[in-house]
C-alpha cells in the first residue's frame, strides 16, 4: 500500500504537468563553488583502472538491446555529435543540492542513431562501478530518454568529467533525483521490461534499498 504512493505521485505529476517541461537552468554565477561527489568515487575493477590509465581512449559505449543498429561509440564519436550544455541542479535523495554545468550529446541523438525498436520501453544503463557488492545500474522510461535535457555528459564545469563524478560518461536526467544519474556508463540497453534485469526494480538502489524507481518526487 505504502509503495503505491510512488505510482500515484508519478501519475499525478504527469497528469497535471507538462511531461516535456524543462528542469530549471541556472547561470554561471549561481553554480556551487564546489560540487561534492557521492556514491562511488572511483570504481575498483582492474578493467576500469586500465581504461583510466589510458585516459579512456579504449573505452567504448555499447548501445544494444532492442535497437536496429547496435553501436559501439568512442568518446571522440560522442564529442562529434551535436552537444548540449546545461547548468542544472543536482538533487540528492538525501536532501542536498549542488549546481553544476554539464556538457554532452542528448541521449535522443544516440538513440536515433541506433534506432529503437517498437517494443523498447526502457533504457538500462550498465555501469563500471559496484556498490554494496552489486553492479550499479539504472533505468529510465522513454519519456525521460527523449527529453531534451537528458544528456550523456562527458564534461562537467568546463573540464573533462572527473573520475569522482563518473568518468568517462554519466547520465544527466534532470527531472529526477541524483541516484538516477548513473555514472561510469559502459552500456545503454533498450529493453521491453525491467523484469529480469538485475533485481528487476530498475536500479541498484531500487533493488537493494527500496528507493523509488521514479526519482522525480
Amino acid at each position: 500500500m505504502l509503495f503505491k504512493a510512488e505510482a500515484v505521485h508519478r501519475s499525478l505529476q504527469r497528469l497535471i504537468t507538462d511531461r516535456h517541461a524543462l528542469a530549471p537552468e541556472y547561470s554561471e554565477t549561481q553554480m556551487s563553488p564546489r560540487f561534492r561527489s557521492n556514491g562511488t568515487s572511483r570504481p575498483g575493477s582492474e578493467a576500469y583502472a586500465r581504461l583510466m590509465a589510458g585516459n579512456f581512449a579504449d573505452w567504448r559505449l555499447t548501445v544494444n538491446g532492442l535497437v536496429q543498429r547496435p553501436l559501439s561509440l568512442s568518446l571522440a564519436n560522442l564529442r562529434s555529435l551535436p552537444q548540449r550544455v546545461q547548468i542544472t541542479r543536482h538533487d540528492c535523495v538525501e536532501g542536498w543540492s549542488a549546481i553544476g554545468k554539464w556538457h554532452g550529446p542528448q541521449l535522443s541523438t544516440v538513440l536515433r542513431l541506433a534506432g529503437l525498436r517498437d517494443t523498447a520501453r526502457y533504457l538500462v544503463f550498465h555501469c563500471a562501478d559496484t556498490l554494496i557488492g552489486r553492479p550499479y545500474y539504472e533505468s529510465i522510461d522513454l519519456i525521460d530518454a527523449f527529453h531534451p535535457q537528458t544528456i550523456l555528459a562527458w564534461a562537467m564545469n568546463n573540464r573533462t568529467l572527473p573520475v569522482a563524478h563518473g568518468a568517462p560518461l554519466r547520465l544527466r536526467v534532470e527531472r529526477q533525483l541524483g541516484y538516477k544519474h548513473a555514472k561510469y556508463i559502459m552500456a545503454v540497453e533498450a529493453v521491453a521490461s525491467l523484469d529480469g534485469v538485475y533485481g528487476g526494480k530498475g536500479g541498484l538502489w531500487e533493488d537493494a534499498a527500496g528507493y523509488e524507481w521514479y526519482g522525480g518526487i
Binding site: 556551487s32 541542479r89 538533487d91 535523495v93 542536498w96 543540492s97 527500496g210 518526487i217
Partner: protein, 298 residues
C-alpha cells in the same frame, strides 16, 4: 453537512444547572481531524528520519557539504541523528522513511483540500473561524488570555464559539502552515520544479524550500503539543468524545446574582452575558430564573 447544536443555551429546556450536550463538530471536521492527526504524526516521524540522511539546512538554491548551513543536526545530537523514538522507522532507513512520507503527504494534502471545500460549502469556516476585528482589540485579547489562564476556554453564553486563540491557531494551521508545508514539499520535487518553476521562485530556491518545510513542520509539532495539552486541561474525555461522536458538553452553568440595572435580564435570561458584551464571565443564561435560583440555593 454541518450540524447545528441540538439545543441552544437559553432554549426553553434550559434551566438545569448542567448544560446539555450539543453537537460540536460536523462529520467532515471529525473525519478530517483524525486523518490529519495520523498523517501529521507519520509525516513528522518520517520527515525527521529523512532529515537524518543529510542533517544540515541551507538557504538558496543549492547547499551541500562544502556550503554554509544555517542549521546542523549535530548541534542537537552527538551522532547527528534524531533519536529513534522520534523517527519512522526507528532505525536508519531513508528509503522506507520516504515511502511513509510520500504516502501520507498525499493523504494530508487531499484531506485538507476536501475539508476546505466541504467547510466552505457548509460555511464552517465562515461561521466558526472568521476573526472579527473586535476580537483582536488589546483589551479583549488580555481578557481572553486571563480567562485561558483560569482554564476557562468557552464563553458560557455561546459555548460553541471558538475563543480567539483557538481561531487564530486553527486559521494559522489550516490556511498558512499546512499549505506552506505542502507547497514547500512540492518545491523539493525535481519533477515539480520542471513543471512548476514558480515554486522555486516563491520560496527562493530548493534548499530554502527545504528549510521552510522543516521550520513549518516544527511549528506544526509545537501546535500539536499545545493542542494536546489544552485538550487535557479542558477535559480530555469530553473533548475527545466531541471529536469522535460530535457530542460535547459546554461549561457547567453557574448561577449568577439577579439582574441589575447595569446588566439587565434579556429574553428571560439573567444576565444575558456574553464576552463581547463585556459582562462578567461565568454568568449563565437561564430561561427559568425561579428554577435556577432553586437549583442554586438547593
Amino acid at each position: 453537512m454541518h450540524e447545528r447544536s441540538d439545543q441552544e443555551p437559553g432554549s426553553p429546556e434550559g434551566g438545569a444547572v448542567a448544560a446539555p450536550p450539543i453537537t460540536r463538530h460536523a462529520l467532515t471536521t471529525r473525519i478530517w481531524h483524525w486523518v490529519s492527526a495520523v498523517s501529521v504524526i507519520v509525516l513528522l516521524g518520517s520527515g525527521l528520519m529523512i532529515l537524518n540522511a543529510h542533517g544540515q539546512l541551507y538557504w538558496g538554491e543549492y547547499g551541500a557539504n562544502f556550503d554554509q548551513p544555517w542549521f546542523k543536526l549535530i548541534w542537537l545530537f552527538d551522532d547527528a541523528r534524531v533519536p529513534g523514538w522520534l523517527t519512522i522507522p526507528s532505525n536508519y532507513n531513508l528509503a522506507l522513511a520516504r515511502r511513509w512520507h510520500l504516502f501520507f503527504a498525499l493523504v494530508l494534502a487531499f484531506a485538507l483540500l476536501g475539508y476546505m471545500i466541504a467547510s466552505l460549502i457548509d460555511r464552517h469556516f465562515q461561521r466558526d473561524l472568521r476573526i472579527r476585528a473586535d476580537e483582536l482589540r488589546a483589551a479583549r485579547l488580555i481578557a481572553d488570555a486571563k480567562a485561558h489562564a483560569r482554564l476557562e476556554f468557552h464563553d458560557p453564553a455561546d459555548p460553541r464559539a471558538y475563543n480567539i486563540f483557538q481561531k487564530l491557531s486553527y486559521v494559522a494551521v489550516i490556511f498558512i502552515l499546512l499549505p506552506l508545508v505542502i507547497f514547500t514539499g512540492l518545491a523539493m520535487s525535481p519533477g515539480m520544479n520542471a513543471a512548476w518553476p514558480w515554486l522555486l521562485d516563491v520560496f527562493g530556491g530548493r534548499q530554502s524550500a527545504r528549510s521552510v518545510h522543516f521550520i513549518v513542520a516544527m511549528l506544526l509539532a509545537v501546535f500539536t503539543i499545545v493542542h494536546l495539552a489544552l485538550v487535557i486541561l479542558a477535559g480530555p474525555i469530553n473533548e475527545v468524545r466531541s471529536m469522535i461522536t460530535g457530542k460535547w458538553r459546554g461549561p457547567q452553568r453557574r448561577c449568577s446574582p439577579p439582574p441589575t440595572r447595569s446588566s439587565p435580564a434579556r429574553a428571560g435570561c439573567w444576565p444575558a452575558a456574553t464576552r463581547s458584551g463585556g459582562a462578567r464571565r461565568g454568568a449563565t443564561c437561564c430561561s427559568r430564573p425561579r428554577r435556577c435560583i432553586a437549583a442554586c440555593s438547593g
